[in-house]
């Protein structure tokens, strides 16, 4: 697409600069992205472009024929989303050339994410690139930039510990279950309580392969409602303690004022299935499971504090890797830019250095 060259740029706002209320306004649906494409296309100076829209950021990457083309993109974007141009301008950041490329790599590697090192952004960036290919707005610069970015992000992930260890309570719970059961396909999960944290954790188990899920809540209609949403079975709450032996993992997230699962109930359950471990994840406050159950063989219990502590430790371990990961990204961007720059032809625009021209215009 890009035949006449131009500047490689990044324009966007993220959780670093834009509050949630503004980010909500900036979210781009596929329909709106298509509409934006129609508006930008008319101007003709945007040689290549792709947009990355997630709950934490909306960012454009592309090749513009002139600084005015980026202004035009920004104006059309604000008009389409009925967002105040001043609000967007206050939160938006623009970078050019090598700096823009480095930002692309930093985002892809999860180094700019709210949850440091998360890998979902990588898939979202692949979607952004696929969208650009589909619209026909990716040309030689973006093709090479994205493809090399994906390689570099994978390199950073495998050569640092930036993605190691889970950093959310639900994911930590799933990881612990894997350390006990190896896989989740054959395990039976019981969710006690139909609250938000329980649902979130149950969804994490479901997304990682758990197939047999049962929900029990003190109000059966709540249990049935959640069970339907999770494609799970429902169980009357009062039956749960007596049927513990049928499950491998019990997610406890009730709002009961006292202990729901006593030492004796758990001991009776493990006696009926002594060779198979029983894993309790107690997410409730006050706690649902009597702490003494950990003395029983093949019984494992983790409460909310335990999970939060592991998540914090993992987060700290990831933060320790940031400097090394940033250095790798800088190295990769530095190696890629000399191959991208000739395609952009971005050294000068109207006799001025491009970045200077862009800044003075922007």
């Amino acid at each position: 697409m890009s035949e006449a060259g131009g500047i490689f740029f990044h324009l966007g706002a993220s959780h670093h600069t834009a509050p949630l209320a503004l980010r909500e306004k900036l979210a781009l649906t596929p329909e709106k992205t298509a509409a934006l494409g129609a508006r930008i296309g008319a101007a003709g100076e945007m040689r290549e472009w792709a947009v990355l829209s997630t709950c934490n950021r909306v960012e454009f990457y592309g090749v513009a024929g002139s600084p005015a083309a980026i202004d035009h993109l920004q104006a059309e974007f604000c008009a389409l989303l009925e967002c105040s141009p001043a609000d967007f301008a206050g939160a938006a950041r623009r970078t050019f050339g090598l700096e823009a490329l480095r930002h692309l790599l930093v985002v892809a590697a999860g180094l700019d994410s709210q949850m440091l090192g998360e890998t979902e952004i990588f898939g979202q960036m692949k979607d952004a690139y696929a969208g650009a290919l589909h619209r026909g707005t990716a040309g030689p610069v973006l093709n090479r930039a994205f493809q090399k970015t994906f390689q570099a992000a994978k390199f950073v992930r495998t050569h640092t510990a930036i993605t190691e260890g889970q950093v959310s309570v639900a994911s930590v719970a799933v990881d612990l279950a894997l350390k006990i059961f190896g896989g989740l396909r054959a395990v039976r999960v019981l969710l006690l309580g139909a609250g938000e944290i329980g649902e979130k954790t149950a969804r994490a188990f479901r997304s990682r392969g758990a197939e047999a899920l049962t929900v029990a809540s003190r109000r059966l209609e709540h249990a049935m409602e959640l069970a339907q949403a999770l494609a799970a079975a429902a169980l009357p709450f009062e039956h749960a303690p007596g049927r513990l032996a049928e499950f491998d993992i019990v997610l406890c997230a009730t709002s009961a004022p006292g202990v729901v699962l006593t030492h004796d109930a758990v001991a009776a359950a493990i006696r009926r299935r002594p060779a198979r471990p029983l894993f309790f994840i107690d997410l409730a406050l006050p706690r649902d499971v009597e702490p003494t159950v950990t003395r029983l063989p093949n019984v494992f219990l983790y409460n909310l504090d335990d999970l939060a502590k592991i998540a914090d430790e993992n987060r700290a371990a990831r933060e320790n890797e940031v400097t090394r990961a940033q250095a790798l990204v800088t190295e990769k961007a530095g190696a890629l830019w000399p191959r991208l720059e000739p395609l952009c032809d971005s050294k000068t625009v109207n006799g001025k250095r491009w970045s200077a021209a862009a800044h003075s215009a922007g």
Binding site: G165, L176, L178, K179, I180, F181, G182, P274, A275, R276, P277, T294, P297, N298, F300, Y302, D306, K309, I310, E313, A317
Partner: protein, 285 residues
Amino acid sequence: MLSNLLSILTDRQWLWIAAGFYLAGFALGTLALLRERRHSRLLMYILIASGYGLQNAGLWLRGQTEHGCPLGNQFEIFQFTAWSATTLFLVIGATFRVSLLGYFTSALMAALTVVSLAIPAWDSTHRANVFGGNPWLELHAALALFSYGVFALLALTSLLFLLRNYSLKNKRLGGWFSFLPSIIELDQISLRLLAAGVVLLTASLAVGSVWWLRDPPGSVHMVAVTIAVWLAYALALGLRLRGALIAQRFAWACTVLFVAALVSLDTVDHGSHPAPAARAISNQP
């Protein structure tokens, strides 16, 4: 041709080099753990497989000299047990890909082979014609020691289980604890190994009992110890299948039983006949 090629070194020299490869595997794993990184599974497998190949060379040369399975003294029994466990690891390691099992295997193999090589007294005497040309007796001994190899690997998976259980119960999951396999995986492999070991030892005793009936062994102790080891493992298997011996108790039982079985090898060796004669080992060190 092969014999000439292998004769460039003595059997003990081949076995020392094999021990060196097991030690290298142990060093590789230890360094990786100290750096809290995973060691290369392929490299570990190659090191152990190389050690195994060289150990085969040494044992083959020894077997050529003795015209049979080299099980004539404590040194050979330890070497053969290590060889059996490695044989099994090379199959299990490739099939189940149990994390850290290679490291623990290399550690145990290094210990068994280096200790047996480093104690000259274990190889200074040797029973000539230990099986009296009786192939059934040779089969009995080989099966029994192969079962000890299986129990050695069982002790390793049990040790891994104990570490994993400790890490989960005490919420110590970071560092090298994160490389341990899952509880279920270790428990299932341990159960299979125990069953395989008991079947092999039962077959060995069945073959041996035919010979004992014809020609009673010189030492009742040897028979008693062998049957005691078999009974202990069979009991552990029965209790495990009934759910009466589970989790860390099962793992402890398998670990302690292996140590006891290893110690009992001395009784079995000295109870065998004919009595050992001084051996002029030309192939020292």
